[in-house]
């Protein structure tokens, strides 16, 4: 029997024609355009809740709303309302407007405003800052000022185990972590409780997540609601240097990104693709326990987009030239000196020093007067 190839469907997205298989969503079609031509990356609708590796996710945050100007070739009427592109399937001859439609852009601005209503503005403290999807989304599509004057919702702090830190105030209820817990782990210990304004991510009966793959909720979370407790306040994302590495792991693929501060691995995450999605989830042993370079086989620096803040203050080793002449001249005219400083990494010592310095600073004028 002759195999029948599925008929390809032709749609127009922002004036660009693309052929996709039936059953593809508008979002996937847009991503196909961007993957074929990198300069079209800005056309792809943003996604806060949709996560391709997690089936049935999406359709909740409304960040990806687009205008369908023509439903299909058979029925050319436009769709009456904006549709979420991540769960709407394409039809033959569909015409979609995203960045070309002002209405879509205005709506997106309002969506940012809605998402930020209860989101605390604690980016300076949040460990997710720098790789936060909501930050990117608000930066690209939102307005600079907030109109919201009321108190933001707050929650009682819940401890969900030694590895994952839950900040419920930062949650935007995208349900990604719930899908992860449902689909990656075999028993459900994590979910959303209550309804509407009061709904919150929680582990049932405040039970610590002890599944082997539970750490993946950190990578999946688009905001800083679920963060790595072992990385808490260790460093800002953009000061650490990502390196791809792998190891032989019996439980997972072992392909990870190591985040370095100097020679020290301060964090291990799964690898993210262009859309910030993890295709190969990693186990908790890899994520939380293998924090030595000797545990890993290094593959080289992770490719970081030039536009990303993570690329700030990082230079390619092959482009840096040492000032040969100046160094040679200095070597002939001056004797070598030892200017290494004691580098304190012990947290307790640093804390004590900070308090001492505080006192010193506070009594500086008194000292100056007495001397």
């Amino acid at each position: 029997m002759e195999e029948t190839k599925p008929q390809l469907i032709k749609i127009t997205f922002d004036g660009i024609e693309v052929e996709v298989e039936p059953g593809t969503t508008i979002m996937q079609a847009a991503r196909k355009i961007a993957e074929a031509d990198e300069s079209q990356g800005h056309l792809v609708p943003p996604a806060m809740c949709y996560y391709k590796p997690l089936p049935t996710s999406g359709g909740k945050c409304r960040a990806c709303l687009v205008k369908v100007a023509q439903g299909s070739a058979k029925d050319p009427r436009p769709m009456p309302k904006l549709v979420p592109s991540c769960i709407t399937q394409v039809q033959e001859g569909m015409v979609v407007e995203n960045t070309t439609n002002q209405g879509v852009l205005d709506t997106r601005k309002s969506i940012v405003e809605f998402l930020l209503i209860n989101h605390p503005l604690d980016c300076p403290i949040c460990d997710q800052a720098g790789e936060c999807h909501l930050q990117d989304f608000a930066f690209e599509h939102g307005s600079v000022k907030t109109r919201y004057e009321e108190d933001r919702r707050t929650f009682d702090k819940i401890d969900i185990g030694p590895f994952v830190q839950l900040h419920m105030t930062r949650c935007i209820l995208c349900y990604r972590c719930v899908y992860t817990a449902d689909q990656i782990t075999d028993k459900r210990v994590h979910g959303v409780m209550n309804r509407g304004d009061a709904s919150e991510i929680s582990t049932y009966i405040e039970k610590a997540i002890d599944n082997d793959f539970s750490g993946n909720v950190i990578d999946v979370c688009p905001v800083g609601a679920l963060t790595d407790k072992t990385y808490r306040f260790k460093n800002r994302v953009w000061f650490s240097k990502p390196e791809d590495a792998h190891c032989d792991c019996s439980k997972c693929s072992g392909k990870v990104t190591l985040w370095y501060r100097g020679d020290e691995v301060i964090r291990v995450t799964a690898r993210k693709n262009t859309w910030g999605e993890v295709n190969e989830f990693i186990c908790n042993t890899c994520r939380f326990e293998r924090k030595k370079t000797s545990d890993w086989v290094l593959e080289g620096p992770t490719k970081v987009k030039r536009s990303s803040v993570i690329s700030a203050n990082k230079y390619r080793a092959d482009l840096i030239k040492k000032p040969d002449f100046a160094l040679k001249l200095a070597a002939t005219q001056f004797k070598p000196i030892d200017d290494t400083r004691e580098f304190v990494t012990d947290g307790e010592t640093i804390r004590q020093q900070s308090i001492e310095n505080n006192d010193k600073a506070n009594h500086r004028s008194l000292l100056a007067k007495n001397n």
């Binding site: 980016c123 203050n313 200017d339 900070s354 310095n357």
Partner: protein, 197 residues
């Protein structure tokens, strides 16, 4: 051939008696010179006397505290990433119970060091700071250093002294411009410097 049209015809006339007498011209010149002895000097004796350079002059760094004496800095690292000379080094730590009087936020900079050899006093750290924590003082410079270890300034030198708070007339460029405009229009003559609350 004429190259420019700025050339002047030189006069070759005979001098008058007044001009030939010579002394009146000398006296006029001397009078001008002597007059300047009594006018106000345009220069100042620099190291002893210093000019006011305006409220937003960029001198040495200060880490502000709020009115309760808590440190504003939350170690977000924006100053360090904005710094074109990479002069700022921060180590963050989590605030513990009982330290609420020392630090305003959950996280604070346990180490905040500025390498004064690298710093170019561009003020980008000041602009990047979301917490109004780091400022460049308008009234103090970095003193001349003689030893290697005086170059890297830690928190003991940077954090504001609550017994002698740092105040200025304007905390941002915009405020300074507004103030200048008001001064020019004669609306205000003197402004009392204030600390940011």
């Amino acid at each position: 051939m004429q190259l420019t049209n700025r050339s002047k015809q030189v006069s070759n006339k005979e001098m008058t008696l007044m001009e030939r007498a010579y002394l009146p011209a000398i006296a006029t010149g001397l009078a001008i010179t002597i007059k300047h002895f009594f006018s106000k000097k345009v220069t100042i004796q620099y190291p002893e006397v210093k000019r006011y350079l305006g409220p937003v002059f960029r001198g040495r760094h200060i880490l502000k505290r709020d009115e309760d004496g808590r440190e504003r800095c939350t170690a977000c690292g924006l100053c360090a990433v904005a710094c074109p000379a990479e002069a700022i080094q921060i180590v963050a730590a989590e605030r513990e119970k009982g330290e609420e009087k020392l630090y305003r936020e959950e996280k604070y900079a346990a180490v905040y060091e500025v390498n004064m050899l690298r710093c170019i006093f561009c003020g980008l750290c000041e602009e990047a700071c979301p917490k109004q924590a780091v400022y460049l003082r308008h009234d103090e410079f970095i003193p001349v250093f003689t030893e290697r270890d005086q170059v890297i300034w830690g928190k003991d030198l940077l954090v504001e002294d609550m017994t002698n708070r740092y105040t200025r007339e304007a905390w941002t460029k915009e405020e300074a411009h507004a103030l200048d405009a008001k001064r020019a229009s004669g609306e205000v003559t003197n402004v009392v410097p204030r600390a940011i609350p």
